[in-house]
């Protein structure tokens, strides 16, 4: 993680350079930062070992992203996370790097076996790092995320969510598992424990975890948001297709919807099938 002193040094050197050079340097730096962030995300080889059929639609708004995904295999269980950090661009990316590091740390030694406890611990780490104590003028940054833990025989999952839900499509019906209405970070009044939902899963169930980038994207003929109901319908329409086809359709759909409008936020959809 970058030390505040390093950030200050980088900022100072940016300010000192002439504007054109500075812009180019910023672009180069961001591009390189994007590569670093990409390297911190789990590689396809790692994900392939955990999931046989999946797709990840990952469209950062800029070179670096506030959305991230993360997987791990511990205690014969599969841990999957799709997350959306406060903001996008550089601030979001810094938060995402913090989130990834903390998730690795929490699961590296004495990994909690319950998804809600992982989120509780993650919140403590974020509050501690950002010195969040509930004072008025401090940072209120946090992470919205959904986390699934698939048990070893793939018969059930645990789900815990911070503002972001989980969609499961089974027998042509979409089941929404609601998340707790709070971020992983300081809350307005007091911090409450995250809840956990145990769900029986069946073969061929398809699970979708996502950030709000897709449904909140402006576009279409009237320049409105895509919204959740069409998003759910779209997933229902395409869920029987192959994973790479779903990826392509979702990407094309959102690109067409966006048209000439600017992408407003990072977009992340993590879909996978229970085999």
């Amino acid at each position: 993680m970058l030390h505040p002193e390093d950030i200050k040094r980088i900022n100072d050197s940016f300010r000192a350079a002439p504007e054109k050079v500075r812009n180019r340097e910023i672009t180069d730096s961001l591009r390189y930062a994007g590569l670093i962030q990409q390297a911190m995300l789990p590689s396809t080889q790692v994900i392939d070992k955990l999931l046989s059929e999946y797709f990840i639609l990952f469209m950062p708004k800029s070179f670096v992203s506030g959305d991230f995904y993360w997987v791990a295999y511990k205690n014969k269980q599969r841990y999957i996370v799709a997350a959306d950090c406060t903001g996008h661009g550089v601030p979001g990316a810094l938060m995402s790097i913090m989130g990834i590091s903390f998730l690795n740390e929490i699961t590296s030694n004495g990994c909690p076996q319950m998804s809600n406890r992982i989120l509780n611990k993650l919140r403590e780490k974020i509050m501690e790092s950002l010195n969040q104590t509930g004072e008025i003028n401090e940072s209120k940054d946090g992470i919205d995320l959904s986390m699934c833990i698939i048990n070893k025989d793939k018969t059930s999952i645990q789900f815990s969510g911070a503002n972001n839900p989980l969609y499961i499509i089974r027998n042509n019906k979409l089941l929404e598992i609601k998340a707790d209405s709070m971020p992983v970070g300081i809350n307005a009044v007091s911090e409450e424990p995250f809840s956990v939902t145990d769900i029986k899963i069946r073969k061929n169930d398809i699970l979708y975890m996502f950030s709000d980038g897709f449904p909140d994207q402006f576009g279409g003929p009237d320049g409105k948001k895509f919204k959740y109901r069409p998003f759910k319908q779209l997933l229902l329409d395409i869920h029987k297709r192959k994973m790479n086809e779903q990826h392509t359709i979702l990407r094309n759909t959102i690109n067409n919807w966006m048209g000439n409008n600017e992408q407003i936020d990072d977009i992340l959809i993590f879909g996978f099938k229970i085999i």
Binding site: G110, N120, E124, L130, T133, E192, P193
Partner: protein, 782 residues
């Protein structure tokens, strides 16, 4: 009405204590090291009540002391002693709605003081009244000055015009003459060309004449208008000027009054330096004259203040175009209404008369005498040795001195015998120490008469006092200093409580029970508990035995901001912040906790669980309570890991049944190994082992999920990524105090098992099953 909070500023080592709450159950203890400022707190609260301070109270920067107290009025208090019509609107409502009455005493540099009503919202109302009055004066003076300068301008303009008119009239005269001359020339001349020129000249002169004449008329009109204007404003101006004069005189009288007060104080303070009759007489005359002058100036000030107050309102009304008689009537009414309202000081004084009396008990030196003459009692001879103690004794016995005038000896003896029994029974309630094995001491008094060995008093009655045990009958003076002190303390407080049965009082006691045995110190606490009904007790102590460990909310910790410097200011930590106080300050609390085991009188032959320290003791006892476990488990706290072996040996020696429960941390690991290697019942892998170790928990604080730990134990929202016990260590928080706070919340029912999240609940269930349930089943099989 009861004292709820206090705030002391600039009093000896105290700069500002902030607001500190008095315990709601009427007993508050101030703990702290010597020189920390505990006694200053008591003195300040007493000075608040009696207004007296000496110069050594003042801080070196000479900032003047200020003590504020907040009281909670009785629900039945209707403030009948206040004339509500004279109270500024909103003040009584604010006091009733907030159920808080704030009073502040502020001292002046001459050490005199004033009590005033305080509290944010109440002060705002009074401030508004003051600023309204100031603005009335400021605005009206401005308007008067504007009016005066406006009048001056008009007058100057008129005078200028008058001068111009005089010169214009001269000019007009000249022009008229010139016109006549030209007309004459025109008649004389026959030359057509000249005639034409003269006609033109005449026409021009006529025009000029007309112009000057018009200008004069205009000027005269303007002067007339100005006269009317001035006559309109003249009255207001006159009143305005009077008013300014009054204000000027008021300032002068005010400074004269201040001078008179200053010289009066000076003469008063020098009086004691005068020597000799002549000098003293001259001094007294001077003092009399100074007093006279002060009284005269005070009266002058009173009169001029009233006159000015009315006049300024009159002028304001006139400036607002109100007709004179109406303006006068209104001004008088407005002034009367304002004058009638209580000032913040007057209102404060009225409320102050109804607050609980603050009494300061510094020593209990009036010891019960061996004997006292009844004559001295009847004559209220307070200088006689032990008079106060005897008076207290009689108050407790419910006996009026007049009773001894009873002539029937049989009735007297019988009554005295009954009273001796009653007082002794009551005293023995508090004094738990035995003399010898079982005998408790008895207090006795008897009515006797002097015999021939005292010829000068022969036949006169006196009371004789005895403190008896089974074998001996000794005079009070033959008893130990501790017994006599306690007796004196008991008599003083019980008499005080009896005399003030229906009155609220604040009792300030400095360092009680210094010469008493630990058990007797606890008896002092018992006396406090007994009299606390309507009496609020605030006392200072260093003794762990004068603190009820189950009621830590009663404590205020007093210490210097910088421990190493005696010059440093005094700060106070209230009960919820105790863990922030230094360990030296908290030593009475901590040493009490250390003595926990020796106090335990409940070790039993079975169901004993040895835990590593007092912190574990508090947590485990509280958790046992959370499970509503009816079987009484006896948790025995060792004094740290090193004390475990001693306790184990002790209980084994006594043949008691027990187990040891330890948390899995570095400090305990050596003891775990030692127990396992030296004693056969302590194999951790044996299911029947007497040793239980909490595998994944380094400390009792780690039984809680981080969220619950923050919410119920340390009560902050800071992020904690490590272990809870690690957080406490890193931040140097007081573990026993935090644990005691938790145990207290559990015992009051503020925290129940359902308050916790699933993680904490599971941890507690697991601990309860493996430790408590296990020892219960083990005992049942025995």
């Amino acid at each position: 009405m009861r004292l709820a909070e206090f705030n002391i500023r600039n009093f000896r080592s105290i700069v500002d204590t902030g607001w500190n709450s008095i315990s709601s159950d009427n007993i508050t203890a101030l703990i702290g090291q010597n020189e920390s400022g505990k006694t200053s707190v008591l003195e300040a609260l007493y000075s608040f009540y009696n207004g007296a301070i000496s110069e050594d109270i003042l801080r070196s920067d000479l900032s003047m002391p200020e003590v504020s107290c907040t009281y909670i009025p009785e629900s039945t208090d209707n403030f009948d002693y206040i004339d509500s019509r004279r109270m500024p609107p909103g003040v009584l409502e604010e006091i009733k709605n907030s159920n808080r009455l704030g009073l502040t005493r502020k001292w002046n540099p001459d050490l005199s003081s004033l009590i005033c009503l305080s509290g944010n919202n109440v002060s705002k109302i009074f401030d508004k009244l003051k600023s309204d009055e100031i603005n009335l004066f400021k605005n009206t003076i401005n308007r008067i000055e504007n009016l005066i300068s406006e009048c001056l301008e008009i007058k100057n303009e008129s005078e200028g015009l008058e001068e111009s008119i005089i010169s214009l009239k001269k000019k007009l005269d000249i022009t008229g003459k010139k016109n006549n001359e030209l007309k004459k020339q025109l008649k004389k001349t026959s030359n057509a060309e000249e005639k034409e020129i003269l006609k033109r000249n005449i026409e021009n002169v006529n025009k000029e004449y007309q112009h000057v004449s018009d200008t004069i008329k205009e000027g005269e009109t303007r002067i007339y208008e100005n006269k009317i204007k001035l006559s309109d404003k003249d009255l207001i101006k006159q009143y305005g000027e009077d008013c300014l004069g009054l204000i000027e005189s008021m300032d002068l009288i005010k400074s004269e009054l201040e001078g008179a007060y200053k010289s009066l104080r000076e003469i008063e303070s020098n009086m004691h330096l005068l020597k000799g009759e002549k000098e003293k007489k001259a001094g007294e005359t001077k003092l009399f004259q100074a007093k006279d002058k002060y009284i005269m100036k005070s009266r002058e000030m009173e009169t001029i203040t009233e006159n000015t107050g009315i006049k300024i309102r009159l002028v304001k009304n006139l400036l607002d175009n109100i007709e004179l008689s109406e303006a006068e009537k209104m001004a008088r009414q407005e002034y009367e209404t304002t004058k009638k309202l209580y000032s913040q000081e007057e209102a404060g004084e009225l409320f102050f008369r109804n607050i609980p009396q603050h009494e300061f008990f510094e020593d209990f030196s009036s010891l019960l005498p061996n004997r006292i003459d009844l004559e001295d009692i009847f004559e209220n001879n307070s200088r006689v040795e032990g008079f106060r103690a005897v008076r207290n004794f009689l108050i407790i016995a419910g006996l009026d001195p007049e009773f001894f005038r009873q002539t029937n000896n049989r009735i007297l003896k019988q009554k005295i015998e009954n009273l001796n029994n009653e007082v002794t029974v009551d005293f023995q309630e508090y004094w738990r120490q035995n003399v010898g094995k079982t005998n408790k001491i008895r207090i006795n008094f008897e009515l006797e008469h002097y015999d021939i060995s005292h010829p000068e008093k022969k036949g006169k009655p006196y009371l004789e006092f005895w403190i008896k045990d089974q074998h001996e009958r000794l005079y009070p003076k033959q008893r130990s200093r501790g017994v006599r002190w306690f007796l004196s303390f008991y008599l003083e407080l019980k008499a005080f409580a009896r005399e003030n049965k229906n009155l609220h009082r604040v009792l300030l006691i400095d360092e009680p029970a210094l010469s008493l045995h630990a058990r007797a110190q606890e008896d002092v606490l018992k006396v406090f508990e007994d009299i606390k009904g309507k009496i609020q007790i605030i006392y200072t102590t260093h003794s762990p035995h004068l603190i009820d460990h189950s009621k830590l909310y009663r404590l205020l910790a007093v210490q210097r901001a910088n421990e190493k410097s005696e010059q440093s200011e005094t700060i106070i930590f209230n009960a919820s912040q105790l863990h922030s106080a230094t360990s030296d300050t908290l030593s009475p609390v901590c040493s009490f906790m250390g003595t926990g085991f020796t106090r335990q009188e409940t070790q039993r032959q079975s169901k004993n669980i040895i835990v590593e320290d007092i912190t574990s003791f508090y947590y485990l006892s509280a958790i046992n309570k959370l499970f509503n476990n009816n079987t009484e488990i006896c948790f025995l706290p060792a004094n740290g890991p090193a004390g475990i072996i001693t306790l184990v040996s002790l209980l084994m020696g006594w043949g008691y049944d027990f187990s040891v429960f330890l948390f899995n941390n570095k400090e305990n690991s050596q003891i775990i190994n030692e127990l396992q290697s030296s004693l056969y019942d302590f194999d951790i892998d044996d299911p029947d082992s007497k040793l239980q170790v909490a595998d994944h928990l380094p400390g009792p604080e780690d039984l809680f999920s981080t969220l619950d730990f923050k919410k119920f134990i340390i009560k902050t929202r800071v992020g904690i990524s490590g272990s809870n016990s690690g957080y406490i260590t890193q931040n140097e928080l007081s573990r026993p105090l935090i644990a005691a706070g938790f145990a207290q919340s559990v015992s009051t029912g503020d925290i129940t098992f359902s308050c916790f999240d699933d993680e904490t609940q599971k941890n507690m269930e697991c601990l309860f099953d493996s430790v408590v349930k296990k020892i219960m089943t083990l005992d049942e099989t025995l």
